[in-house]
């Protein structure tokens, strides 16, 4: 029987800090040049120290790896480079012992063209799996669906020479979409979920969920049958597996994304994609307006649901959910070298995007942690790792974790040439300058700062559970808001400008209370009826707890 390590807590994900791990790049436990589950187990103490509540694993299944593993060739196994199903079980067990939960990427929309289901479907059109993919005699249907990977794909249809028909794919042509109209496909995918849930996994990040169903005359995204199926998935999970979470990856506008929460009966979490480019925009334009606007246009979500928020992840910094004009601005500011662009986005890590500015990196984390949602950190960003834009596709942001200044960045004991990718060696972001070991030892390092910051956020459930109340002022360079939950009232004030800024905030509602700065616990002057004046350093921020004076 499985041991249950956690007290039952159906809303754990609302207070959690997530950490996204690229297994291949984290730590090599068997000296073959590629990260694996044994290696990940060895580094769990580090993640526990950092304050991680939940690890999100990038795809771990057997795959030809033509799309970073999002091209799954077998849903019931572990990629041999990463270990075995037994290793995976041991990893989950060890993580649970440290109070860390585990969710994994799962792609329901499509498979690799190498998957036996597809091979059967293309060779035996009348056989049991003949109808498991979306086949058509022409490439005419569903013309209103956009193409996502604009850099590589010209159409969502590709002619299969074996079957002599076109198959539908919303992503790469080697990733045929499954036919969710077929009830057998729906059941097959539920069986996959059950298999991993039985092994103890705490949930899934459901990749590419908006595209499960197609319908003529629509964009074939976010369709009602897609939502109906996700509700069925949720009901099946809830019935047998307590405290699990479904996290939807739906790169859509907030009004469309909230549909993935249903009435609290669909996915518990969904990423808030549009907020992230606007944070970068705000910092570059020195204007907080885009932040206020996107949060203002974000609908309320059910009480048992939560946004997932991130600064950067394993993909490009996506610019799908901005206007053309905003996209041009972002490209001009953040992708000066055209190599940095990919599809509709920018393939760079956090630190290089912000020119390595410690103040800006801290400010971005402060804004991220202050927003209503659960933050998702991307491996390596906690030490300000860099990227390599000369590597293909998104590999540039998936280089080995830099553990030490020793050989292979302490990532692997294999030969240098054997490594799946070589660690960064440039003088600014290379592993001799940027590594975990050195930053652990230095009390003033970014890693140590972030560790304290995570601890601070976790001390106050208000950040995960509380309301968000924007606090506009005359100074558009200031992003200020109130978070409130039960007795806890938190005032967050951020200066997105490169220069020092004064701000007068209308805090009359809190007259008589005393703001206590949360890091140093210094009490500021009490709030009166007049506007409250604060001065902020360039890219500076303050978080205050408003205390009743006794």
């Amino acid at each position: 029987m499985s041991e249950q390590w956690f007290e039952r807590d159906p809303l754990w994900f609302k207070r959690a800090v997530f950490y996204e791990v690229h297994i291949r790049g984290f730590f090599d436990g068997n000296d073959d040049g590629s990260g694996d589950f044994r290696g990940l187990i060895e580094k769990l103490d580090y993640l526990q120290w950092l304050g991680v509540d939940c690890i999100w694993l990038l795809p771990m299944y057997p795959s030809p790896l033509r799309d970073g593993g999002y091209d799954i060739a077998d849903f019931y196994n572990i990629h041999p480079d990463y270990g075995t199903v037994e290793d995976f079980k041991e990893f989950v067990e060890q993580a649970h012992q440290r109070g860390i939960r585990v969710i994994a990427d799962l792609v329901m929309n499509h498979t690799s063209s190498d998957h036996p289901w597809f091979q059967e479907s293309r060779t035996d059109p009348t056989g049991p799996r003949g109808d498991w993919y979306v086949w058509s005699d022409t490439d005419e249907p569903y013309k209103d669906a956009r193409i996502i990977f604009v850099d590589t794909e010209a159409s969502n249809w590709t002619l299969d020479p074996v079957r002599g028909q076109y198959y539908w794919h919303r992503f790469f042509s080697h990733q045929p979409d499954l036919n969710f109209e077929n009830p057998e496909v729906q059941d097959a995918m539920l069986n996959v979920l059950r298999f991993w849930l039985d092994l103890g996994i705490d949930g899934f990040r459901l990749d590419a969920v908006p595209y499960l169903f197609e319908e003529e005359g629509t964009s074939s995204e976010n369709l009602p049958p897609t939502h109906a199926y996700l509700k069925r998935v949720r009901a099946e999970v809830d019935a047998r597996y307590p405290d699990r979470v479904l996290l939807a990856e739906a790169n859509q506008w907030p009004a469309d994304v909230v549909q993935y929460f249903g009435d609290g009966d669909e996915c518990q979490m969904a990423f808030h994609f549009p907020v992230m480019p606007r944070m970068f925009m705000a910092v570059r334009r020195e204007d907080a307006t885009p932040m206020y606007e996107i949060l203002g246009s974000t609908p309320d979500i059910p009480a048992n649901c939560q946004w997932g928020l991130f600064l950067r992840n394993h993909d490009e910094l996506t610019l799908e959910m901005v206007t053309d004009e905003e996209r041009d601005y972002m490209y001009a500011e953040y992708a000066k070298d055209p190599r940095m662009k990919l599809n509709l986005g920018i393939r760079r890590r956090l630190a290089p995007l912000l020119d390595g500015s410690r103040d800006e990196i801290e400010l971005m984390h402060a804004v991220l942690f202050s927003l209503p949602g659960s933050p998702v950190l991307y491996y390596g960003d906690e030490i300000g790792m860099g990227d390599n834009v000369y590597l293909g596709d998104r590999d540039g942001v998936r280089t080995p974790m830099q553990w030490t200044g020793d050989r292979n960045a302490g990532f692997s004991r294999a030969d240098w040439a054997q490594l799946y990718l070589q660690p960064l060696m440039d003088p600014v972001y290379g592993y001799q300058a940027v590594n975990i070991e050195a930053q652990l030892r230095s009390p003033a390092s970014f890693l140590r700062w972030l560790h304290r910051f995570i601890a601070l956020r976790k001390e106050h459930p208000v950040f995960g559970l509380g309301s968000y109340e924007p606090l506009r002022s005359d100074n558009s360079r200031i992003f200020a808001h109130i978070r409130r939950w039960e007795e806890d009232v938190i005032l967050c004030v951020h200066n997105v400008a490169r220069s020092a800024q004064p701000v007068q905030l209308d805090l009359s509602e809190y007259a008589g209370m005393v703001p206590e700065e949360m890091f140093g616990r210094t009490s500021f002057p009490p709030i009166g009826e007049l506007p409250y004046l604060l001065t902020l350093a360039p890219r500076g921020f303050f978080w205050f707890r408003l205390r009743q004076v006794t």
């Binding site: 029987m1 041991e3 249950q4 390590w5 007290e7 039952r8 807590d9 159906p10 809303l11 060895e42 580094k43 103490d45 580090y46 120290w49 649970h96 012992q97 440290r98 109070g99 553990w403 030490t404 302490g410 975990i436 070991e437 652990l440 030892r441 009390p443 140590r448 560790h451 304290r452 601890a455 140093g520 616990r521």
Partner: protein, 445 residues
């Protein structure tokens, strides 16, 4: 058997072993139960789930009795009923509940269980358990708050017994639950050390009367501790106990953790308080010293350790020391308590205990210990310890060992400082002196 939910909530939330005092209980319900005695008064075991308004829950073990229609939730009020648990262990019973089984098991060849038990007395509730002593020969520990997994008390006693470590109170038997709600150890019975003197009380008595006499016992305590660690690190075939080489960043993680704790505690230090004057405003010095101590990075091997080691966990049994209470720090989770760590954490705990004894004798008995007593106590204990312990468990080289030990002492003293500031202002001087000693002592090169 149906319980009144309100009575159940009232009862459980008032117990010393109830761990969630700050939470609002929304529901309490019995999730499984087995009957231990069918004759009047009936006696039964129940697992009770306490569900909080946040949706979280905890499981507790209750032993209740029934006379006619009258239920007594605290069945151990009549301590003699606890004999049923021991006799179930003696006969190796397996009892089936609705959701799982309760297994009672004796330790093979343990004679103490064979006797008929007469007298039973409640020796008071601890933070996590209730203990009953029978005829001054056996002690039963009933674990109240249940966590999934084997309880370290059972696991450690069994391992130490099997590997021939004699300085413990022998394990007689145990009982555990396995089923839908969880799998967990419910209780153990072990030898009661009759006439044993609590190590802490003995220290205070002898420090007040005959300080040298106690010093004379400490070398032996060091030896026993060293043996205990050697035995705990001796079996590489048992995954739960086999020594592990710590990861490269383990010392870095420890340093960062201690460093941040120092910064946090010093930030809140009441500067005007006279007792903290020797270290007030010296937080940066303490952090510098920590950096010096952790400059070279060796941590030795990690093994299972006692985990909550101090004089109060030892007993002088007339001719030798007995080590007690392997449950670990009750506030930590069970998985956390079962983690492998450096043996020097235990050693540091004991050294800090000597500092406490030296001061407590002034505070509680009104006599000062002789000049240099604590130093002498430390060196007696350490001499015995280093002579006995398996050196492969320690960082290579005396200097590295001393540094790591100092780091653990510092960690402990900083924790004590916070604790005493919050709870016992009169005792603040003890950790203050400990921290002062550590910053003023030059680090070994």
């Amino acid at each position: 058997m149906r319980f009144d939910e309100h009575a159940l909530i009232d009862h459980v939330t008032q117990q010393r072993w109830y761990g969630a005092k700050s939470r609002d209980v929304a529901h309490a319900q019995v999730v499984d139960s087995v009957v231990l005695r069918t004759a009047e008064p009936q006696f039964a075991l129940a697992l009770v789930e306490m569900r909080y308004d946040t949706g979280a829950h905890d499981l507790y073990q209750l032993l209740y009795s029934l006379r006619g229609e009258t239920i007594e939730i605290d069945g151990l009020k009549d301590a003699s009923l606890a004999r049923e648990l021991v006799s179930a262990m003696r006969s190796g019973l397996t009892l089936h509940g609705a959701e799982g089984v309760v297994e009672f098991r004796p330790v093979e060849g343990y004679a103490g269980l064979g006797r008929e038990l007469k007298d039973a007395r409640d020796v008071g509730a601890e933070q996590s358990n209730t203990s009953i002593v029978f005829d001054d020969e056996l002690i039963l520990k009933v674990f109240r708050r249940l966590e999934p997994g084997i309880n370290p008390e059972l696991e450690m006693l069994r391992f130490l017994t099997e590997h021939g470590f004699a300085n413990i109170a022998a394990l007689g038997g145990w009982y555990s639950y396995a089923g839908g709600p969880l799998a967990a150890t419910l209780g153990i019975v072990q030898e009661y050390v009759r006439g044993g003197l609590d190590g802490w009380e003995l220290a205070l008595d002898e420090l007040a009367g005959d300080p040298d006499r106690f010093l004379g016992r400490l070398r032996r305590l060091g030896e026993v501790t060293g043996e205990m660690h050697s035995v705990l690190g001796s079996d590489s075939n048992d995954a739960a106990f086999s020594p592990e080489t710590p990861s490269v960043e383990s010392l870095g993680l420890l340093t960062a953790t201690v460093d941040e704790e120092i910064a946090r505690v010093f930030l809140m230090l009441p500067d005007e308080e006279e007792s903290v004057a020797p270290i007030a405003g010296r937080g940066e010095e303490v952090r510098d010293q920590l950096r010096q101590l952790t400059y070279t990075g060796a941590a030795g091997q990690f093994i299972r350790v006692h985990g909550d080691y101090h004089l109060g966990q030892t007993m002088w049994a007339g001719d030798d020391w007995v080590i007690l209470d392997f449950e670990g720090e009750p506030a930590r989770s069970l998985a956390e308590r079962r983690r492998k760590r450096s043996v020097l954490r235990d050693v540091a705990g004991m050294l800090r205990s000597f500092a406490y004894a030296a001061s407590a004798v002034s505070l509680l008995r009104g006599t000062d210990p002789p000049e240099g007593w604590e130093e002498e106590a430390r060196s007696q204990f350490l001499e015995g310890y280093f002579e006995t312990v398996d050196a492969s468990l320690l960082p290579a080289g005396q200097s590295a060992t001393e540094r790591l030990l100092a780091v653990f002492e510092l960690e402990k003293a900083v924790y004590e400082l916070q604790y005493e500031l919050d709870n016992r202002p009169d005792w603040v001087g003890i950790p203050v002196r400990g921290i002062q000693r550590l910053i003023e002592e030059p680090t070994a090169a």
